[in-house]
Symmetry: C3
Subunit: 153 residues, 3 copies
């Protein structure tokens, strides 16, 4: 205890998926944890890291927080469009807003440096206003072993 | 200790996926935990929540516990049919039976209320005999921070 | 603590997915944990178990550690080939090498016996040099409840 938070009071997520619905789950869970007084970190890797890239019209794989497909029944974007319409009607906020809340509540964003090297992504390609650090697996393990809740999404 | 179970004695699963093979993994793990004296909760969200809906011939997305596709090599249902045949031969029980066991062993089913709102699902559309409560992210975080094992599936 | 490792010093992964990118994430995380002095176990189940099968030209589903598709944008293998090229350029080692390191660092490989029965896989079909034991959900729960970090991949 003392200087260190109790283990159960920290949440760490690996966001490996770049799917829209999974990014929603990750940020809603993380923001819920922050709202309840926990610490929260998200480690963006592989397809997930594409969501931290600046929006670009013709990037491959698609770049930008709102640019991920649905994990199922995407139907070339039609399913995603339908889900987004229903979300609007149910007053669910955008991923952009969820990320802004995550940062404001003190959440920590870590960009996977190995994915950056593999995909040829430079720091200036990423939304720097969100990123707390670039790191590798060692940093993740350090976060995870201090966390009571660790999720791979 | 005392009134509260030891943290390691509780398992919480978020079932985000609606895939048949992942529903099997979730229920087999949860029932294993219950059989070994742990508590277990499953929080059904997004595609996973579709598995709690009453069977319907033409629902979109498909509704019903046995109606999920395979996560890979589904081939319009052919792969799923093959896996089901092999499961029958290996005496693996149905999802319906696994869910009945889960409930009988004291497992807790939570239906995600935000998904219900987004997808326009009403309580009467769900298999009420299974559901212990409808809840949001706050309830999940509460379960998760008391759990020694938390899985996102 | 005495004879038993502290709970936070152990990592357990269920590898349900057979996707190449997810096998990379699982082994990189597990090897990172081992390198930092933790214990690590991977429980290979369902599609993940196919990665422990001996390479075969026409197996269905595809057998062999390097034979998994990408989880997204596989494009009949083209996307996977591109990612592999980029990995080579970034000096990322093969899954074969990661598995050899995992074993050398003391990692434990458990093959799911229920999947073997469903898929008709015999022990001699698997890479025996990697496998520490065949086991079921009971063994997994035992590992998981002793682990500080448990991931479903």
């Amino acid at each position: 205890m003392g200087e260190e938070k109790k283990k159960s009071e920290k949440l760490t997520i690996v966001l490996h998926s770049g799917d829209m619905d999974k990014a929603y789950s990750a940020l809603i869970i993380a923001n819920g944890a922050l709202a309840m007084g926990m610490e929260a970190s998200i480690f963006f890797t592989f397809w997930g890291l594409q969501r931290l890239r600046k929006d670009k019209a013709f990037a491959f794989p698609p770049a930008g927080l709102e640019k991920g497909p649905l994990s199922k029944m995407n139907f070339l974007g039609l399913g995603k469009w339908m889900i987004k319409q229903r979300m609007k009607k149910a007053n669910v906020v955008s991923l952009e807003k969820l990320m802004a809340d995550f940062k404001e509540l003190g959440g920590k964003v870590i960009a996977c440096d190995m994915t950056m090297e593999i995909m040829g992504i430079k720091p200036e390609d990423l939304r720097q206003e969100w990123i707390d650090e670039c790191g590798g697996v060692g940093g993740f393990i350090q976060e995870a072993r201090e966390s009571g809740v660790v999720l791979f999404i």
